[in-house]
Symmetry: C2
Subunit: 297 residues, 2 copies
């Protein structure tokens, strides 16, 4: 029976899974070998280092993520939205014919300004597959969160939010860092929800973020609670921007458990439904592409 | 005839002017002796260093800005909004009776979250005095911009936006810095206005900022134009948050010429009227307080 090497090759990390023909995970690896850590021309060698032992079984390999970017192994041109599962499955970039391919990312346009994703499209189709959905609003939290609208099985529109990155910038480099403890403790759910609520009611994060300083100045929130409050502010800004209303369809949150739990808490505190799918959505998406290609027959 | 030493003592700089009884500027100084650069207990000495020669004329001194903060010379408690000129003039904090006083800052509340200013209140009342206005919407651009609503001569509400600081963070520390040239050239007005327009139409700066990356990726804006575009994005976010509509009253922009010109350009590009007032608004505000006190009689 054939096997699939499913790889999510991102900016800062490399993750891989060996899957059987039914999509079951036989083995998994993770390494800090993101594309920014690969020397020029070094992609074949890094790939061999991590996957030669799995390849000896005759498995073929599908790769999603930043490996298909201009700074990656080889550039896989973006598919323009609206784009469905069949579009990305038919536009793989083959590195070795029928052996190694890169899944293309997606682009979309909003009033003349493009947006892009690489890797998340595979997670989205994997999550839809797992949940049996063809219409959904999804969020994939992270350094650059993606909010994705799927209609009749196709990604029609998506937006990137620099949420994780801005949190880190404010936390480490802004005037607010003076108010925040150096070490981040456990999430303080009350402070987090207070931040979510304030950002959702505010006009802009550019204004709401200043409340970290003023609440501290007036001793209305202790320093230990501030990182949770700030996290609530940046995630609350995402929710404000979606214009979500209570009673809407459940938001599908895709990602690692710590982050999806935080987004689910934010959504629930604003009376919105959600469902979570773990990072295995990537594996399911890549497996579904391999099935489509008949690679696992 | 008596004279006034007007001082704007901020976080990073110290500015002073010697004014005659009619408010004319006789002399001015500026030094990088902001409150963060004053050692503990060092305020009287730094003050004497810069102003002893003016004080020998018998002039009294009024100080606005961060000198009245907890980290400053002495803490002057905030006046709560709504607050008018008479409120701050009657609540000076005297360091030396009838010789040296600090003007208090203002605080306001928005759904349980405070906001604060120190120094800008004096600029606002000075600008209103210069323009003969008692109702206005003002913006004081800077590291932390303030948008201020004045009704019947009183500041009824204001909001801080971390605009200048966020611009610097994105410029220097974010992933966008890779797209931006190290040296900032002249303002590219077209790129700036494009940024203003995109931010105003966007749902959030957290999303709009990512366009710096994607416009670069698709070669739709040259690297040299990117700092101007990003500047337009952050200022456009302020305009979006105000919910201003064309045909509204002219916005009064108070500050140094380079910044006020940029805000006036942003407002004009969105079909909004504005008037600019220079940094001498501080001197006019302090002079008006001295007049009110009878100090210059």
């Amino acid at each position: 029976m054939k096997r699939l090497i499913a790889v999510d090759w991102g900016t800062s990390s490399l993750r891989g899974a060996l899957l059987d023909a039914d999509g079951r995970i036989l083995d998994e690896i993770s390494a800090p070998a993101g594309i920014l850590n690969v020397p020029a021309g070094g992609f074949p060698a890094v790939f061999a280092d991590h996957f030669a032992h799995w390849r000896s079984t005759g498995a073929s390999c599908l790769i999603s993520g930043m490996a298909g970017s201009r700074q990656g192994w080889r550039e896989a041109p973006y598919c323009a939205c609206p784009a469905g599962f069949a579009d990305i499955a038919s536009r793989l970039l083959w590195i070795e014919p029928r052996r190694i391919a890169i899944v293309p990312g997606l682009s979309c346009e909003d009033r003349g300004v493009p947006d892009v994703m690489r890797g998340e499209e595979t997670q989205v189709f994997g999550a839809l597959h797992m949940l049996g959905l063809s219409d959904a609003l999804l969020v994939l939290p992270g350094t650059h969160s993606k909010w994705v609208r799927v209609q009749a099985g196709r990604i029609t529109q998506f937006r990137t939010f620099m949420t994780g990155e801005l949190y880190a910038l404010l936390r480490q480099h802004s005037i607010l860092s003076r108010t925040l403890p150096a070490v981040e403790g456990e999430l303080d759910a009350d402070a987090f929800e207070r931040g979510v609520a304030h950002a959702r009611e505010s006009v802009s994060l550019l204004h709401a973020a200043f409340s970290v300083r003023t609440l501290s100045l007036f001793d209305r929130l202790p320093a230990e609670a501030m990182p949770s409050y700030l996290s609530g502010l940046v995630i609350g800004e995402e929710l404000r921007a979606q214009g979500l209303s209570p009673g809407a369809e459940p938001v599908v949150v895709v990602g690692a458990p710590a982050l999806t739990a935080r987004y689910q808490l934010a959504l629930a505190s604003q009376a919105m439904q959600s469902r979570a799918v773990g990072s295995q959505a990537s594996w399911r998406g890549l497996w579904a592409i391999a099935m489509q290609l008949g690679e696992l027959a």
